[in-house]
């Protein structure tokens, strides 16, 4: 196996773990959303790179185009990106409301307030 091999999968895994780590390790609610986005993007990269055919062009039905990339995963990810944007928007809206209600967006401070109550 030549060295970089299927390097796109390595990139996916690294991005995925970075995102996952941020979601778990950070107390700041905005940073968690950022981590969640990185995590989702890694899966988008996974789908898109898996559909790429080496030497292939865009999937256009025309004379002279014989090898083309698989368009289906690309279209699926278009949908997944929309879902991801909606999720991010909702998460940020929730953070705004949490900030109004608690006066902070640090998870440990919020938990402290909840324990006091």
């Amino acid at each position: 196996m030549e060295f970089p091999g299927l390097y796109n999968y390595w990139i996916t895994i690294v991005l995925m773990m970075v995102g996952f780590y941020i979601v778990i390790a950070h107390d700041n609610l905005i940073k968690k959303v950022v981590g969640l986005n990185i995590f989702q993007v890694s899966v988008f990269v996974f789908y898109i790179s898996m559909a790429k055919v080496r030497g292939g062009t865009a999937p256009i039905l025309d004379a002279g185009i014989e090898i083309y990339s698989n368009p289906l995963p690309h279209v699926l990810i278009l949908t997944a990106i929309v879902v991801g944007v909606a999720t991010t928007a909702l998460a940020l809206a929730l953070v705004v409301r949490i900030r109004n209600a608690y006066g902070t967006i640090e998870d440990d401070e919020i938990e402290g307030q909840e324990d006091d109550a």
């Binding site: 789908y47 949908t79 879902v83 909702l90 929730l94």
Partner: protein, 286 residues
């Protein structure tokens, strides 16, 4: 004539009613529309069940694209029962929702509550009816996003943090599910669940499929709040408005566990099927 389009109408009617709710604005009107829709949906589900009992599974190619390529709605006997049960719970909860909602939610937000409630119903019915693994993800997210909003509408401020935690866990779960679907697609080249179930046994022992099943299991378990991935659930259901708890607790987990995806997973190998059934039992007792 209209009977042929029942599977699509089952999902489309509540979906169209949700923005209509936002346009109507008046709490009473929004509630009346929601009530009408939930009973119509129940009627359609019963009609579908009768159709399935009479003439076997009903399939509906959306936009007339034939099955393995286009998205297919598929109602078999189990699916028809799930549809009837979800629709029935919706139809029973909605009449009582009016007074409970007036108590718990500020008047100027009530119409938004009903819009989200209808979207949630759309998603749950969609999960039960769709025959496409990626379409399932979309409906899963419709259900989840609307239920995050519904939970955050609870009167205490803790509802907000509960909804936020649910959002983080739910999105992780959905993304895990997406990875699982990607790997199954890599090995079989299809997203249609009936097609997947026939193609999976041939590749069931490869490492990719095992990893895919692991991702699917974790993803769906997060969504189901299956022990030990259930930590988001107690707060979410405690601080949500009571109507939401009544509706979601009764339907959400049930729909997911009995979905058509289980046939795909069972087909892949006997041992994973056993694991799934035992996970199902755990969920029942916890």
């Amino acid at each position: 004539m209209i009977a042929a389009h029942l599977p699509a109408l089952q999902v489309v009617i509540p979906l169209m009613a949700a923005p209509l709710c936002v346009l109507l604005r008046r709490p009473v009107l929004a509630w009346a529309l929601t009530l009408a829709v939930s009973w119509v949906v129940l009627a359609i589900a019963v009609a579908l069940l009768l159709q399935v009992l009479e003439s076997g599974p009903v399939t509906y190619p959306l936009g007339n694209w034939a099955a393995p390529w286009g998205i297919e709605y598929r109602v078999d006997l189990a699916g028809a029962f799930v549809l009837v049960i979800v629709a029935a719970i919706g139809a029973v909860v909605t009449p009582y929702a009016r007074r409970s909602v007036e108590h718990e939610i500020p008047r100027d937000r009530i119409y938004l509550f009903y819009a989200m409630y209808l979207l949630c119903l759309t998603g749950l019915l969609g999960i039960a009816i769709t025959g496409d693994a990626f379409n399932l993800f979309v409906f899963l997210e419709i259900t989840s996003l609307s239920s995050y909003v519904l939970i955050s509408l609870g009167s205490e401020r803790r509802a907000l943090t509960a909804a936020y935690r649910y959002l983080i866990m739910g999105t992780l779960g959905a993304t895990f599910y997406l990875i699982g679907v990607a790997m199954m697609y890599m090995m079989t080249g299809t997203l249609n669940m009936a097609d997947l179930a026939t193609l999976m046994p041939a590749v069931a022992d490869t490492r990719t499929i095992l990893v895919a099943l692991a991702f699917l299991t974790v993803g769906i378990s997060l969504k189901l709040a299956l022990f030990p991935l259930h930590l988001w659930l107690p707060n979410a259901y405690t601080y949500a408005p009571s109507v939401v708890t009544a509706f979601l607790a009764a339907t959400a987990a049930f729909v997911l566990r009995t979905g058509q995806l289980s046939s795909v997973i069972k087909s892949s190998s006997a041992s994973t099927g056993v694991v799934y059934r035992s996970l199902g039992f755990l969920r029942v007792y916890l």
